[in-house]
């Protein structure tokens, strides 16, 4: 009779299956999830929040690649790279990223040479329409009033704290007292219209955003409104103030201009005189003339170097544009680097190149390859800052800052120079002369009654209290 003992191969097979199952279970637990935009709704040509959630994954390299080229120009890749420490448990990496209209957008998360996760967004999702964020349940009437945008429902804890994240948000409807006031203010400063439903006013910090008796208040470059006021005025107001036009004007006018080349006539005279003297020395000077010619070549080289050599191989320029009201505004900082020799320009800022160039971007740096005598403009991630230009209750503009404002000009009103801290307009009028080009360009883009000011380094656009933004020329 033949007996069957447990075969060693069968035991080994069981062991392999068990180990494979364990490994599969572990690998499923180790995940990385990316959320770009709000609820995976991305606004093209705007700053979007980026949230990478890692679970039990060690140090990872996150790379997001965007091709914003054209059929004519070919591929233009921008790569965003970030090193995320990760580790055991849950770790979250958050940032804001400017997402242009893309031809291709994909990302990959790598850890130790292995790809943890990857994905892509199809080109058809490159939608420029702003978002309407709804937190809580405001009711069907409010929800049905949100037309023209894309509605995304969010939980209050998912509202970002930094104003840059709300660059592509038109309306933020808050219908819960659990939303953080800091997030709400950040959205308003960025230019969104924040609608506080009655349910949200149960929270004291949110309720203080709307003073008693006021249904609407301008905050930063946006506004905070109650539902009633919002329903009344929403037909008069556009979705949000068009700061992009202001930034574009600033970027096109405030450029570094390379110095003009030295005139050619002195060069011609100098070079001709040098050649003539050298030839005379060689022909008639004999051996001393030969040595003198060599010495003359050396001294002429030094003499030519000193006046012709530019003092610096690169020039940096930083210009700020602050758009806001009521003491707070959204700052758009424009960096420009002009380089004489071809080199890679690395700007230590969280930003995005304005021109259509290939670039490497990180959470705190932008790297662009520049050709000879070329410049790159990088727009730093917008952020909320203090605003020195304040409009008092009587509609008069005042310098509420610590430094003098070299120029203040009100659209449809007066222009003043050297407005001291605390001083109100109009000041002692004197001949102001022609306005700078950038001031003229900004005044053409702001609504009636808005003020444009400069302290010499930054430009401020103060939005009036009772403005009708829809009337501002686009």
């Amino acid at each position: 009779m033949k007996t069957y003992a447990p075969a060693p191969i069968a035991v080994l097979a069981l062991l392999v299956i068990a180990l494979s199952s364990l490994a599969a279970a572990q690998s499923s637990a180790r995940t990385a999830t990316l959320e770009l935009g709000f609820g995976d709704a991305v606004v093209a040509n705007a700053w979007n929040p980026l949230r990478l959630v890692l679970r039990d994954v060690g140090p990872v390299e996150f790379e997001l690649s965007i091709d914003r080229g054209t059929l004519r120009e070919g591929e233009r890749w921008l790569r965003y790279r970030a090193e995320v420490p990760g580790g055991s448990g849950l770790s979250v990496f958050e940032d804001e990223l400017f997402v242009p209209v893309w031809r291709s957008l994909s990302w990959v998360v790598r850890s130790g040479g292995l790809t943890v996760t990857s994905g892509s967004l199809p080109r058809t999702l490159a939608d420029r329409r702003p978002l309407d964020l709804v937190v809580g349940e405001p009711g069907p009437e409010v929800r049905s009033s949100l037309v023209g945008g894309r509605i995304v429902d969010l939980s209050p804890e998912r509202l970002p704290l930094r104003s840059a994240a709300y660059d592509g948000v038109a309306n933020l409807v808050v219908a819960t007292p659990n939303a953080r006031a800091q997030s709400v203010v950040a959205a308003a400063v960025a230019g969104s219209t924040v609608v506080l439903a009655p349910a949200s006013l149960a929270d004291a910090s949110l309720a203080t955003l709307l003073p008693a008796g006021e249904g609407s208040r301008v905050v930063g470059s946006g506004r905070v409104q109650d539902v009633e006021s919002w329903m009344e005025t929403m037909s008069a107001h556009p979705a949000r103030f068009d700061h992009a036009a202001l930034v574009s004007a600033l970027a096109s006018i405030e450029r570094i201009t390379p110095s003009s080349p030295p005139p050619v006539l002195p060069l011609l005279l100098g070079a001709s005189a040098y050649a003539l003297i050298v030839l005379v020395m060689l022909r008639f000077g004999g051996l001393p003339g030969l040595l003198a010619a060599l010495l003359l070549a050396l001294t002429t080289s030094v003499a030519a170097w000193v006046p012709l050599r530019p003092a610096q191989s690169s020039v940096d320029q930083v210009t700020d544009l602050v758009v806001g009201a009521d003491g707070v505004g959204q700052r758009w900082r424009l960096h420009e680097r002009f380089t004489l020799p071809a080199r890679t320009a690395v700007l230590p800022v969280a930003g995005w190149p304005l021109s259509n160039v290939e670039a490497r971007v990180g959470p705190d740096s932008v790297s662009v390859d520049l050709g000879r005598w070329r410049s790159a403009q990088v727009l730093e991630r917008p952020r909320a800052v203090g605003m020195p230009l304040v409009q008092d209750e009587d509609g008069v503009w005042r310098n509420a800052g610590d430094a003098s404002l070299a120029l203040v000009s009100v659209r449809g009103g007066e222009t003043a120079l050297d407005v001291a801290p605390g001083q109100r307009l109009p000041v002692q009028v004197r001949d102001v002369g022609p306005l700078p080009r950038i001031a003229v360009a900004l005044l053409e883009l702001v609504p009636e009654g808005a003020a444009v000011a400069s302290d010499g380094r930054s430009w401020f656009v103060g939005l009036p209290h009772d403005e009708v933004w829809a009337e501002a020329p686009r």
């Binding site: 050619v264 070079a271 050649a275 030839l279 060689l282 051996l287 010619a293 080289s301 030519a304 004489l340």
Partner: protein, 207 residues
């Protein structure tokens, strides 16, 4: 050493030396003025055009004089080589002027080093060319062979995808292989000159 210098002094008194120095300096002054940017232009690219013109002109000069020196007495051939290198050194202020204003990424030392070394190297190549033409009884064709040699070196480098022999691309970018090749040729030339000089001394050819 003093014999070398006096030999150079004698060589410079020859009319062809003055003519060539005048021609080279005039050509490069005109080049510098022609490639200098106008006031409205946004960038100064004058060095690139100037350096390439200078390099080709000096290569033609060195190859031509090297080829003609193949049949000369050693002392005169050495004096001719020194004269060509001297002319190359005397155009450096024009190069420095265009370099300073253009601000290229290529370092200045490349021009300062490569100009005399490459001129010496091309002179030795010219000697070889002259000897070959002499042995083939084609010396009458040297005015054609010299520019043809420059064009051939350029074509060869382009075909092989490197920058070793041609004067055009080596003028504006650092090329260690070009420097090594030209240095090697210059050293060979020095060796040949030394040997030829001593032999001539023994025979009493060198006055």
């Amino acid at each position: 050493m003093s014999r070398l210098l006096f030999g150079l002094e004698d060589r410079l008194r020859d009319s062809d030396a003055t003519q060539v120095a005048t021609l080279v300096l005039a050509a490069l002054v005109i080049t510098l003025i022609a490639v200098w940017p106008t006031p409205g232009s946004g960038s100064n690219e004058s060095w690139y055009a100037f350096a390439q013109t200078r390099s080709v002109v000096l290569a033609l000069l060195a190859l031509g004089f090297g080829a003609s020196a193949a049949g000369e007495a050693p002392r005169r051939a050495v004096a001719t080589a020194l004269m060509v290198v001297l002319v190359a050194l005397l155009v450096l202020p024009l190069e420095v002027a265009s370099y300073a204003a253009s601000y290229p990424a290529t370092p200045l030392w490349w021009s300062l080093v490569s100009v005399p070394v490459a001129t010496a190297g091309y002179f030795v190549l010219g000697l070889v060319l002259g000897r070959v033409a002499q042995s083939l009884r084609l010396r009458a064709l040297l005015p054609l062979l010299v520019p043809a040699a420059v064009a051939g070196l350029l074509v060869l480098d382009i075909q092989l995808g490197w920058t070793v022999l041609n004067p055009l691309t080596s003028a504006v970018a650092v090329s260690p292989w070009h420097l090594a090749m030209m240095s090697a040729l210059a050293v060979v030339g020095l060796g040949l000159a030394s040997v030829g000089w001593r032999r001539a001394d023994r025979r009493g050819v060198n006055p």
